[in-house]
Symmetry: C2
Subunit: 165 residues, 2 copies
DNA sequence: TCTTGATATGTTATACTATGACATGTATGA
DNA sequence: TCATACATGTCATAGTATAACATATCAAGA
């Protein structure tokens, strides 16, 4: 049975005030260690995703970058988002054509997302790559996985509760 | 441990000559039973997907439909593809913004796809919804899933073999 | 110092993906 | 006959993403 994070963030109410700066600091450290440049646009893009705490379209991110004095053309956003996703600081939600800051940037993982179609919250659950469903299928078929997309649409606990009321 | 189809089609060489007509006949039967109309455009769209045996973009499908005398505007393709995906005759591969005929139309299943980035083949593996990874995560978090997207990119057995050579 | 190469940011232009809104046709049933 | 539901077609537009090119910066090496 695959491991999973029993407490994915995203649906739980939590103190949001410090998590942005903490995450940026962690990202900064990580980039330094890895010899990567967390440049102003890239850092700002990460902050934007962290502040929202939900999936944002590339053009949403672009609009805010532009407001903050960065370039106003699509490649500005796409390049920053490419950097963040490539290095595990953000993920693309394929189902939504949107991006979200990574909730577990510290460790290598195969992210799985739970997308609430009612309130549009997105929770990231962490799974153990080596035991995941996809790995098992791959093993059975001789396929070598380089990247997995695991996304579920549905209703989150909070919205389920409201429905019942 | 999740069940899985040990022999997903897609990477295995197989006799392709009859599978299109068989699949169309099965789809026709299914639609009749369910009171659905497998109209000419819809049937032709399904045939196009079946003939290719890989993921096709909506505009690829549109081009062929148009060649065959159907409408030439995007909604023609999107509506046919919506019908097919809605009723389990085809699936959308979110990672590719593309569509593929369903390999297991007869039974309710949560499809999982293996996408070869080298030869662009796409294999569909069948998983048991009730035991899948996503269901387990959902259970642990109180999330109610309505639809799951399970897609893996990587290298298929055939292309792995070629690489080694 | 000068130069080369790698990286990063910005631009313009364009390509690819998808849907809204409306007109028409056809079949079913009241 | 009329109303309704559904299907197909159109035009127009919205939303997502990348190619190609100019410029700037910085580090490594001649």
């Amino acid at each position: 049975m695959p491991e999973m994070d029993p407490n994915p963030i995203g649906f739980a109410k939590h103190d949001h005030s410090h998590c942005v700066q903490d995450a940026v600091a962690a990202a900064d450290r990580m980039c330094r260690d890895a010899g990567l440049q967390l440049t102003p646009v890239r850092q700002r893009a990460l902050e934007i995703l962290l502040e929202e705490h939900r999936a944002l379209g590339a053009y949403d991110v672009l609009a805010r970058l532009s407001e903050d004095g960065f370039g106003s053309q699509p490649p500005v956003a796409y390049r920053a988002l490419d950097f963040l996703t490539k290095h595990g600081l953000a993920h693309k939600i394929e189902r939504l054509n949107a991006f979200i800051a990574c909730a577990h940037p510290e460790d290598r993982h195969t992210p799985a997302f739970l997308i609430c179609t009612s309130c549009h919250a997105v929770a990231e659950a962490e799974t153990d790559p080596s035991h995941s469903l996809m790995s098992q299928i791959a093993e059975a078929t001789g396929f070598r996985i380089s990247r997995a997309v695991l996304e579920a649409e549905g209703t989150c606990p909070n919205c389920l509760e409201k429905e019942d009321a």
